[in-house]
């Protein structure tokens, strides 16, 4: 299941992001992804593996929100955009041209993170504050 490896990559990115905030620990409520339909990712699988992977970590309870991005091609003959369809061998309906340019659908992107800092001093302040 490659969604497990994708989740691992995602967690590595999230850990790196968390380090930027040290020593404070952001409480993440949601992580927003954009996942193109012309990728090898099953969004449901990814959400499932995420839920399992974040348990008992600093991301426990954070929800993974996936915005699907449809496959859009651009016909290089007439410049029209279209929805490539495997049933039509991905060709453009206007000029019957092969799928040459992809406008969207290959995204695998962490778009944003919703988070907060607790104003509890233990969270908000460095562990050891110089006098």
């Amino acid at each position: 299941m490659h969604e497990v490896d994708m989740t691992r990559c995602l967690l590595l990115s999230m850990n790196a992001w968390k380090q930027q905030h040290e020593p404070r620990i952001p409480r993440v409520s949601r992580v927003h992804l954009q996942v193109g339909s012309f990728t090898c990712v099953e969004p449901d699988q990814l959400v499932f593996t995420w839920r399992v992977a974040v348990q008992n970590t600093w991301l426990d309870g954070a929800e993974l929100v996936i915005e699907p991005v449809p496959l859009v091609g651009r016909c290089v003959r007439c410049n029209a955009t279209y929805s490539p369809d495997p049933e039509q061998a991905y060709r453009s309906p206007c000029c019957q041209h092969p799928m040459e340019e992809i406008v969207s659908g290959r995204e695998l992107r962490i778009r944003s993170v919703d988070y907060a800092f607790s104003d509890h001093p233990a969270d908000a302040l460095p562990a050891a504050t110089p006098a």
Binding site: R27, F38, C40, A89, L108, R109, D114, D119
Partner: protein, 249 residues
């Protein structure tokens, strides 16, 4: 009280793998070798292709293989027989290679030889038509195999790998007389999702098509390491091939 914030990251989901892949590629460029990532569904003929190409090219190029296929201890021995070092990569239970695994393979390789002496590094990926395409390992070129026994609809059903490939080899064409498939249809379907890649029909059994395939290889090698009296000139800045960018992700 909490202060709700939103960070706009715009980061590739696979950024961690991407970084390692770029690191691997920096090594390849410094060593001035061409790295190929060979991918296909299980049994499409990756090892057979390598076997034939290694034997044919061993006199012309210095080569090594990183073998991601854990079932090919025997194959590794066959490949080593032509004098090409083969390093197995531990994939765990993963259905594809990733850049960290290839980095591990490179460490093992470096215990055996100096990669700067290589012209060509082959990476045989795990047999899988779906996800290896999403995990770069630092390769300069992706080579996808599709055997004629798989049917002509596969490029349309599993388009991502064929879209990403720089070269698609249609393999086992010696079997065409026995199958209800047409080479032209397979090729046309590949072109539907990737109009500009090289498409080369081959048979590892008969050797048909290998001249064209090796010509393609030679052209890629020339692109990365133009023949020059390298001893006299300082190491150039590692040439980055005009490799196709992984699409915006």
């Amino acid at each position: 009280m909490h202060m709700p914030l939103e960070d706009t990251l715009g980061l590739n989901l696979l950024a961690a793998n991407q970084h390692q892949a770029e690191h691997n590629r920096e090594h390849f460029d410094a060593w001035r070798l061409l790295c190929l990532n060979v991918m296909s569904s299980p049994g499409a003929g990756k090892t057979s292709l390598l076997e034939r190409s290694l034997a044919a090219l061993a006199g012309a190029y210095a080569m090594a293989v990183l073998e991601g296929d854990m079932t090919t201890q025997l194959d590794a021995e066959r490949l080593e027989a032509v004098g090409v070092p083969v390093v197995p990569i531990t994939t765990g239970r993963s259905c594809h290679l990733d850049a960290a695994m290839v980095s591990g393979g490179l460490k093992l390789l470096r215990q055996r030889l100096d990669p700067a002496e290589l012209d060509l590094l082959w990476v045989e990926n795990v047999g899988n038509l779906v996800c290896p395409a999403e995990f770069e390992v630092g390769e300069h070129r992706k080579v996808a195999l599709l055997s004629v026994t798989e049917g002509d609809d596969k490029p349309l059903k599993y388009p991502v790998m064929f879209r990403e490939a720089h070269c698609v080899l249609i393999t086992k064409i010696d079997l065409l007389p026995y199958l209800p498939v047409q080479l032209e249809r397979i090729e046309a379907h590949i072109r539907q999702v990737n109009p500009h890649c090289a498409v080369i029909p081959v048979s590892a059994t008969s050797g048909e098509g290998f001249a064209a395939w090796h010509q393609w290889l030679a052209a890629q090698l020339a692109a990365i390491a133009p023949a020059a009296p390298t001893a006299l000139i300082p190491p150039r800045h590692p040439a980055r091939l005009p490799a196709r960018r992984p699409l915006p992700c």
